[in-house]
Amino acid sequence: MIKLNNVNKTYFTDKIETIALHNISLEVETGEFVSIMGPSGCGKSTLLNIIGLLDKPNEGSITLEQENVEQYKEKQLAKIRNEKIGFIFQGFHLIPELRVIDNVELPLLYRKISSKKRRELALEALEKVGLSARSHHFPSQLSGGQQQRVAIARAITGKPSLLLADEPTGNLDSHMGDEIMQILEDLNKNENTTIIMVTHDDDEAKRTDRLIRVFDGQLIH
């Protein structure tokens, strides 16, 4: 599904250079549910951003579904993100000006789909997270857990094969966090969606197929 080969990432700020990732090689199979753990600042978010093609490594190659994206232009990367990857963030990042349904539709805007079809797909995704009744609310009218469920609906509405979740339960209490985990597990089992999740919670990590630990920009096996 996804393969990282000797990926290096260094940030340059003014005069200091910070090594964020060092020689990372990693392979995730289709249908796997992988969790990434590590102390803050260890580079796990950078790793997730690189897997999500939001950030480019300085060295090394990334292969996504047999496609080597090393030489891809911004526009091609955007297309891959749109079709193959869904993001879930710790801070939900819903667009406050848009209603729930419009938020969920967002990834479909960048495809050539009729507005009727978009609405259908978005409702379908909302159905899956159990929020179809709230489709015309604004994000601010929902609880944190509900907002994160909307964010998940947005991530899956485009039927991506890979979900990237950056501490999806980080801002939620344990009860709501559990709900979110349940939804992710169902997606993984029922739809065979590959999920890579950054987490701080050992219990959550245990519920996944595989745990990867990152420390000082390196993988620990």
């Binding site: 526009k75 869904g86 990042h93 419009d102 485009g158």
Partner: protein, 419 residues
């Protein structure tokens, strides 16, 4: 997609009312001035009253004459002699009217005195121009030939002299001569230069026929053709006649002999071009004027654009989460540029709509002040269309750079910023 952008745009406008207000202030100011300018220009180039058949008319209003050595030149409006000799006989013209420029006269009636502009014309003048007669009618060919002392006056003069009553058959006196009013017409704006006046009388009533020898100054001519296509033909026929068949003219009372003349049969636009460019040859410089008008409009939009660019650039980070999310879910930079441009253009369009309303007020105020005598300035469809096109251009000009900057925002940083 479009709808999504519009919703976001309107929400953003509402959320940050103060910034929307500042942006709108600049847009409305700029567009209002442009709309007023455009309306004046439009009313001049496409007059709607007496000169409404301007598409079938050409006007001769300029003459420059040089001596053989080209050391002496003189330019002004043409004289009767010149027009009668070179414009009147034009073969392809269907009608030609010769008339004087308006001059001030004092009209006396029952001890009251009114200052008015008076024009001497022939009878064809009223068949070429389409005056709207409120009372009576124009003087006829017969009146003209017999030199009858008859006058057409405009509504303004009529209400000054006769209040609301009937003016037909009444006598007015100016230049120590009594004229009978035969017609009352609607006021015609100064923008219709060949029609504009308060009083019109046949030039055969002039106390002497000495005007017939005037080569330069004081007169103009209108050429009427049945079809628009003939206009270009006439224009070249006229220039040819002046180039090849001009007979050297010795002006009275001076030893100058004019050997070369420049004059053209102008459309409304080319006449404006000549006035503004100060053109002195057969070329009135229409293209130059068009270019100049375009440059003025752009220069005028420059400061408001930079103002908007500044504001919008300072507000980029406000949108960082949205940009980050959109990029994560597959929006390319192009998508984002288009989104923010549409947002900006929407704002300039709203501003343009407000400007159109404000401009109506400004134009009414200009009419009220009488800055342009008798002008009735109205905004018509073509002004609205040009305004909308200009506002889209303005929106692009002021929006493209902030949109570019926004689209280049790094999604990783954008998302982290608001976490």
């Amino acid at each position: 997609m479009f709808k999504n952008y519009l919703i976001i745009a309107l929400k953003v406008f509402q959320k940050r009312k103060f910034f929307t207000f500042i942006n709108l202030f600049g847009i409305v100011l700029t567009m209002s001035v442009l709309v007023v300018g455009l309306t004046l220009l439009e009313n001049y180039i496409y007059p709607g009253h007496a000169e409404k058949n301007h598409d079938n008319m050409l006007s001769v209003s300029y003459l420059r004459a040089l001596n053989k050595e080209r050391t002496q030149s003189s330019s002004s409006d043409p004289g009767y002699y010149f027009l009668n000799k070179y414009v009147k006989p034009l073969k392809s013209a269907d009608k030609v009217s010769i008339f004087s420029s308006p001059r001030m006269v004092s009209v006396y009636l029952d001890g009251q005195q009114v200052k008015s502009r008076m024009r001497l014309t022939d009878a064809d003048y009223f068949s070429i121009l389409d005056f709207n007669f409120k009372q009576g009618s124009a003087y006829q060919q017969d009146d003209f030939e017999q030199g009858r002392s008859v006058a057409v006056i405009n509504q303004h003069t009529k209400s000054l002299l006769f209040n609301d009553g009937n003016a037909i058959g009444e006598k007015i006196k100016f230049d120590e001569k009594v004229f009978t009013v035969v017609g009352v017409v609607d006021n015609v704006s100064l923008l219709e230069q060949d029609a504009y006046s308060d009083i019109w009388v046949p030039y055969t009533t002039a106390p002497s026929s000495s005007y017939k020898t005037d080569f330069m100054g004081g007169w103009g001519a209108l050429i009427y053709v049945d079809s628009e296509d003939k206009r270009q033909f006439i224009q070249s026929e006229y220039i040819n006649a002046l180039k090849n068949h001009f007979e050297p003219y010795a002006s009275t009372g001076s030893d100058t002999v004019y050997a070369t003349v420049y004059s053209t049969a102008d459309t409304k636009f080319s006449r404006l071009a000549r006035d503004i460019n100060n053109s002195r040859t057969f070329d009135t410089g229409d293209d130059q004027l068009l270019l100049m008008l375009g440059l003025i409009a752009i220069a005028f939009m420059l400061l408001p654009s930079i103002n908007m660019i500044n504001l919008n650039v300072s507000r980029i980070l406000e949108r960082s989460t949205e940009i980050g999310v959109r990029k994560s879910f597959g929006a390319s930079s192009g998508h984002l540029v288009i989104q923010f441009l549409i947002e900006n253009i929407l704002l300039t369009l709203i501003g343009a709509a407000v400007s159109l309303i404000i401009s109506i007020g400004i134009l009414e105020y200009i009419e009220y002040l009488g800055l342009i005598p008798y002008a009735e300035l109205s905004i018509n469809t073509s002004v609205v269309v040009i305004t909308l096109v200009l506002s889209i251009f303005f929106g692009t000009l002021s929006g493209i750079y902030p949109a570019y900057r926004m689209s280049k925002l790094n999604p990783v940083i954008a998302l982290k910023g608001a976490a």
